[in-house]
Structures are given as structure tokens and as C-alpha cells.
Symmetry: C2
Subunit: 209 residues, 2 copies
Amino acid sequence: MQEFKLYFVADIKSNMKYPPLQLIEMAVAGGVDIVQLRYKEENIRFLLDLGQKIQPILKAKNIPLIINDRLDVAQILDADGVHLGQEDIPPIKARQILGANKIIGLSTHSLEQAKAAQNEPIDYLAVGPVFSTNTKKMASPPLGTAFLTQIAGITALPWLIIGGINSSNLADVIAAGAKRIAVVSAISEAEDVTLAARTLKKMLENKLV
Amino acid sequence: MQEFKLYFVADIKSNMKYPPLQLIEMAVAGGVDIVQLRYKEENIRFLLDLGQKIQPILKAKNIPLIINDRLDVAQILDADGVHLGQEDIPPIKARQILGANKIIGLSTHSLEQAKAAQNEPIDYLAVGPVFSTNTKKMASPPLGTAFLTQIAGITALPWLIIGGINSSNLADVIAAGAKRIAVVSAISEAEDVTLAARTLKKMLENKLV
């Protein structure tokens, strides 16, 4: 898959600060490299409709669209890939259905899981949460930044970190070895979504630190 | 699709009276004709595992396995079909992914929706809820039995009714024209699951009424 630094998880909920389409447009304007749609409500037609609306915007900028969890939605949208959790469809099954050309990402919550992910047919892994976060209920305990120095040594795959990362702690995260981050609320809860994304992107490109 | 009378929706939840595998085995012993797995929790691997465990039991009796909502799970299990709600993946998209040989069912909640379903590439439709039920939150208002006499006139598809049907009201439902029913709690909440299924089945076969 193409190189990336700033991965935006658009966690679509009913109580968002901005309408989902507008949120994603603003985040794209700020320079996010990948957009993941995460949606846990029951109305899949809403998700399909949103996906169809954002695809031209993303394709125009060569930004991959990743669907959380649901392969069927990714298939219908012909999205660029899926992101799977440890309790979702196993990557090997996802690869069989989606084929070799789609992106498959996997969430890991410990160095052990990150190591085990080496044997999965995936394109990248996410490790986290680094910090505590309110985004996901029942999230795993935060790993802290010290473990970051160990990840590079255990995986040859592109890895990103996730969980409570924002402009205040990103410098620490970068100093500890992270090159790619995924964010949810640091972008979606910002007053100025575009500025928030742009600031994170510049820090990751070492243009602000 | 093959003819059926008693369609069991195994709505898998954490607080069930019996473990899911045992529940389905008991329902099968009682004569259910179709089993639908409905599961709204986040752990899809649990659903895949349960599906794999019940498949030999169902196949031995030529009982179709239908997966609620998720095409990807149906694909991985090579299940017999999917059941879709009005806000789930549109039947036309499901047909494109699953092909001509899989069963696609659609929930409808009014005569208008049942009529519109005629134009969808589906194999059967469910109409309901007939009576009030606590099984699904935000369920549509109950339709009552009077409308049952009208359904046969508006669809050439096999139709079943769902929603609060049990051995106490089934005779009324049959008298109003229903030939196929789907049940959730009348089977899964029964003390004797096998007996509950057997009783409903016999009533539908006109052997008890």
C-alpha cells in the first residue's frame, strides 16, 4: 500500500459536532492520508450512502477509503480495504473474500498481538491504545509510549499507533519512534477540523516540531 | 427455496436461557425448518465459530442456515442465505455479491413495504411485527391480524409473519391466513425448547388445531 502518515478514523455517531460528510471533507482538506469509516449503528444504508458520497472526494486526492469491520460494505462500495479488530473476521478469511489487491489492516493491543500479526495476510497493523481514550467503550488498557521503541524491532509491516493522540502529545510519540498515527477525536472533535488535521500532518512531516 | 413453515430466529444475546449451540440443537430437534442467526454484538469470531458448529447439525436435516444482516459472515460460512432489514444492505446489492443460488429474505413492516418487496430480487419476505414484542428495540408498531388477509393478494413470494407469535395466538394467525411463521422468544425463552418448537410446528401442519 502507498505510504501514509495521518490516518483518520471517521467514527460516525449520532452526536457528532459536524455532519459526517462535512467532517470528512474538512479532514481531507487538512491533509489526512487515509480515511476509515467506522460505524456501529444498525442503518447500513446510511453508511453505504455516505461511502458513495465521499468516494469521489477521496479518489480525487488518491486517499484510500477503508471500511471498519464489514467486508460486505467494502465490497459493495469497492472500497480500498477493511480494518479488522481482534474479534472481527479473521484476516485470512478477509483476504480470501477481498483478494490480493485490497488493503487489510488489523488492530493489535499488545506487543504479543503485534508480533502475531506478522503471520497474518495484512498490509498494516494498528497498535494501541497508546493513551487512554473515551472513543471506544471497553478499550484495552493504554500501552504508554515506552513500548513504541520496541515495535519497529518486531514487525516488518507498516504500523501506526492509535489511542488518545493529539497535537499535545504527538511530539512525544514521534520522539519514541512512531511515524504514522491514527486519530479519531483529535480531528472529529476539533472546532477547526481542517486546522487540526493540518497541524498533526505537519508535525508528522517534521515541519512543525 | 424449499417450502417451510417454522422459521426460528436464533437471536444470540449474552443473557440467554440456554447456550446458543444447545438452544439451536433443541430447536432443531423440535422440527424448525429454517434457522436464522441474528447477532448484534461486536465479536464476529464468536458468530463464525457458532455458525461452523451448527452447520453439520443443520445440513444433516436439510435445514437452511440464514445469516441476519451480514453478507460477509454468510460468505465465509457459505451459509444458505441472508436476511435483510429495510435499513440493511439493499437486496439488489446482496444478490450481486451472493449470486443466484443463495436465499435472500427481506423484512417488511407494512403492506406498502410488502408490496414494494415484489420488485426486489428476494426469495421470501417477512411481515411484522404482528403483535407487540420486546425482542427488538425500536420495533415498528404491531400490525395486528386483520392485515394478514390482505398479504396473499399483494405478493406472489413466500411470506412469513413475525412478531410476538406463540402457541396461544398461533391459531388466530393461521385462521387469518398465515402459513409460515418466524419466532424468536416463543422458542428461545421456552423452558422446554424442543417441545415449544414441536407444538408450533404441529399447529402449522394442522395436526393440533
